[in-house]
């Protein structure tokens, strides 16, 4: 085996393992639900998401989904921080998005631009 091939093989082998060991741990620390093999582990917080309109009324994403079939999310645990930007461009346009933890009931509010 040539030295070049040996170095390339060893680099790939150890780099690959390092990435595979590190990524799930990093994602866990970042509270992200993706790329960490959690597999229905329920370890992360789940969220209820509400859209608040200019007249003060609010609707949960689940209500909109059940009524219209719209806003279906193929994944149930999409990161709310990513999602909220897209929810702000919904029609009718909401003025605020509320993300509430299912277990903790802690609320975070985001004003739509």
């Amino acid at each position: 085996m040539s030295r070049m091939r040996l170095v390339a093989s060893a680099t790939f082998f150890f780099l690959y393992l390092a990435v595979q060991m590190a990524v799930p741990a990093i994602q866990y620390v970042r509270h992200s639900n993706t790329f960490r093999w959690s597999m229905f582990a329920e370890s992360g917080e789940r969220h209820d998401i509400f859209l608040v309109y200019a007249d003060g009324s609010r609707q949960s994403l689940a209500e909109i989904r059940n009524r219209t079939g719209r806003n279906r999310l193929p994944r149930s645990q999409v990161n709310p921080a990513t999602l909220r930007n897209y929810l702000c461009s919904e029609t009718p346009k909401p003025v605020r998005i509320i993300v509430r933890g299912v277990r903790t009931a802690a609320e975070e509010q985001y004003a739509c631009p």
Binding site: L6, W37, E42, L83
Partner: protein
């Protein structure tokens, strides 16, 4: 073993080739799920969740073309036609759709991407492939380290899955109640938490047990049982996904069958037409070429295995690692290393199956029909 020796060591490419065929087939099935998800995403019917806003969407109407290319590449990968090219392109397609939107970041397609990458890097097209039939003449050997990575990947998945399940919510059975078809009247009983604990325990055991030769067969059975149970018990919304995921994660188990080609000797009564049918079955499914098949009429083979002609005529024999097994135990041992049966065959060692199996084997062996000199069908007793 030095680093140079570790990275220079070679092993049979056959398990990799068979795993590649299974994974290619799974990717082909996965195309239907992906078509549904991508179609949904591009329809504007769902709320997008792009992590990388600069990542371009597929142009309107391109989803069918994307999926057609996906299917074509999956077929090429499964049959082993330009495996490195088809595998590389499949990895790129998986990476694109994983990066496209958080809605598509499922663990099962993420896992699929890594396994395809590893099978591609490991040159899985070296064996069990159209390329082998058409043009490749090199030995069916690959670098051993490249077969270690898919196995380590498997253990890493089970390990993290186990670790993340060690939380009060999962162990209380919340996930079991929410994601499975467990009847409502059983919610809140001890059963969901017992199932949760069992699931986590199996994942822990499989993660480490696959690496311990004495525990490996138990890990095969438990891994297969876990994924079968997941498939049958999960909510209907997950059935198709869990079926492809189950097949995909079980495929790399094959790489733990480390028996070298030709390392096991099967001695069978070559005067017996009934035995010939069994041997034809074993031969047809011995995709890893682990066995050498020799008739009991070959005296030198019998001497080499330490088997008398009478013993060889009485029952099938398998000789390996200094041991010789006969009858039902030999059949079980053969099934334990065939790709179609290695996951469940260890169950045949659980009492009282061996004693029943041995009795059944002796009865069938005594009544089998034999073709002597290719002309006469006669019961074994008449032959003796």
């Amino acid at each position: 073993m030095s680093i140079r020796e570790f990275f220079s060591a070679e092993t049979s490419a056959r398990p990799l080739g068979v795993a590649r065929a299974v994974v290619g087939f799974v990717v082909l099935l996965r195309a239907a799920i992906q078509y549904h998800l991508l179609g949904l995403l591009m329809s504007g019917y769902i709320v997008r969740a792009k992590q990388f806003p600069w990542m371009p969407d597929l142009p309107a109407g391109w989803v069918p073309a994307f999926i057609a290319a996906w299917m074509l590449l999956a077929v090429c990968f499964a049959v082993g036609y330009h495996s490195r090219l088809s595998g590389g392109l499949l990895v790129a397609m998986f990476a694109y759709q994983l990066a496209l939107d958080e809605n598509l970041q499922w663990s099962n397609s993420y896992f699929m991407m890594w396994i395809i990458l590893l099978l591609t890097v490991a040159d899985s097209g070296c064996s069990f492939s159209l390329d082998r039939r058409l043009r490749r003449k090199d030995p069916q050997q690959v670098a051993r380290w490249s077969t270690l990575l898919p196995r380590l990947q498997l253990s890493i998945v089970y390990f993290y899955s186990w670790i993340f399940k060690l939380n009060p919510h999962f162990l209380a059975g919340e996930s079991i109640e929410r994601a499975t078809r467990l009847p409502g009247f059983l919610h809140g009983t001890w059963l969901p938490s017992a199932v949760a604990a069992l699931t986590a325990g199996i994942e822990c055991f499989v993660s480490f047990g696959l690496w311990v030769p004495s525990l490996r067969r138990a890990a095969f059975v438990l891994g297969m049982s876990l994924h079968t149970a997941i498939f049958f018990s999960m909510d209907r919304a997950h059935t198709a996904t869990m079926f492809t995921f189950g097949l995909n994660i079980l495929a790399p188990y094959l790489l733990f069958l480390e028996q070298a080609p030709g390392s096991r000797l099967i001695i069978w009564d070559d005067d017996c037409s009934f035995c010939r049918r069994w041997i034809a079955f074993f031969r047809a499914f011995d995709w890893l070429a682990i066995h050498r098949f020799e008739g009991s009429s070959k005296q030198d083979v019998l001497r080499q295995a330490g088997v008398t002609p009478q013993e060889a005529d009485l029952e099938l024999k398998v000789a390996f690692e200094g041991r010789t097994l006969g009858g039902f135990d030999a059949v079980r041992e053969v099934l334990c290393v065939l790709p179609i049966s290695f996951l469940w065959a260890p169950l045949l060692a659980i009492p009282p199956i061996p004693s029943i199996g041995r009795r059944l084997y002796r009865r069938v062996a005594a009544r089998r029909n034999c073709t002597v000199s290719g002309a006469v069908n006669a019961p074994l007793q008449a032959k003796r």
